[in-house]
């Protein structure tokens, strides 16, 4: 709590004599989970092996992964993929493998996947 006459620091707000910390929220993308729901309504992912092209840091991937048997997410941006190493291990993450690869030269054998998801990558 700030004393009277002490200026509030950035991120704080003086109300009367008290200084309360203002709660900052991180950027939230699709907090209602509309996108994974739309995907799950579009295709039945049960018992499937999924390839997601343009997976980035796996924001979308981890939201539907538990519905499938496994997901391989690829992206050309190595930085995004590396950032997933910082994510907490969850039930979904056990199904997911993210790697750096290009959509036009996929490092996979023929007929490996049941579903290919182009995540804003066409």
């Amino acid at each position: 709590m700030a004393r009277a006459g002490v200026p509030a620091r950035a991120g704080h707000r003086l109300i009367g004599r008290a200084c309360y910390t203002m709660q900052r929220m991180p950027t939230q993308v699709d907090p209602a989970g509309v996108e994974p729901r739309a995907i799950l309504e579009a295709a039945d992912l049960r018992n499937t092996r999924v390839l997601e092209v343009g997976a980035g840091d796996g924001r979308l991937t981890f939201q539907y992964a538990s519905e499938s048997n496994s997901v391989v997410g690829i992206d050309t941006k190595q930085g995004d993929i590396l950032s997933t190493a910082k994510l907490p291990k969850t039930d979904s993450s056990r199904h997911v493998h993210l790697m750096c690869a290009c959509a036009t030269a996929l490092p996979f054998s023929a007929e490996e996947f049941n579903v290919v998801l182009l995540a804003s990558s066409l």
Binding site: E35, I39, L117
Partner: protein, 138 residues
């Protein structure tokens, strides 16, 4: 883009499913939202590369004409992004699919500050229409 679809077809099992998820070219709605409703809003052009969108559509048409896939269904949905500050929104836009959006940052920050100064708890919201389409491999 056709090459990507050709590769998708190669790695798919027979009768596998291709899902194409991407934003539409319709304007994006930028809002300053209070506890229960939007207090201020503005439509912005979120797509400055209609050539890329046209090329993606053309690639899909080509794949259908070659009978690589059959169209099954399309469904629109609205994707929302919430930020506390214009700085947060700028950082997000620079690294994501909003990088080409003509977001009026200065005007947005001005309105956000005005409303916050009047004691309202406000956040920034971007709403954009997306489409998920599914195709079955022939």
């Amino acid at each position: 883009m056709v090459d990507a679809l050709r590769e998708a077809r190669r790695v798919l099992k027979p009768h596998g499913v291709l899902i194409d998820v991407r934003p539409l070219t319709t304007p994006m709605l930028i809002e300053v939202v209070g506890a229960t409703r939007a207090i201020w809003e503005k439509e912005v052009d979120a797509c400055s590369t209609p050539e890329d969108v046209a090329a993606a559509d053309a690639a899909i048409r080509y794949a259908l004409s070659e009978e690589w896939f059959s169209f099954e269904r399309s469904s629109p949905f609205s994707l929302e992004i919430y930020c506390d500050t214009v700085t947060d929104l700028t950082a997000y836009a620079e690294t994501r699919h909003l990088r080409e959006a003509a977001i009026p940052y200065e005007e947005l920050e001005e309105r956000r500050r005005e409303l916050a100064a009047s004691g309202q708890t406000v956040r920034l919201r971007c709403r954009r229409a997306w489409m998920v389409s599914t195709y079955r491999m022939n």
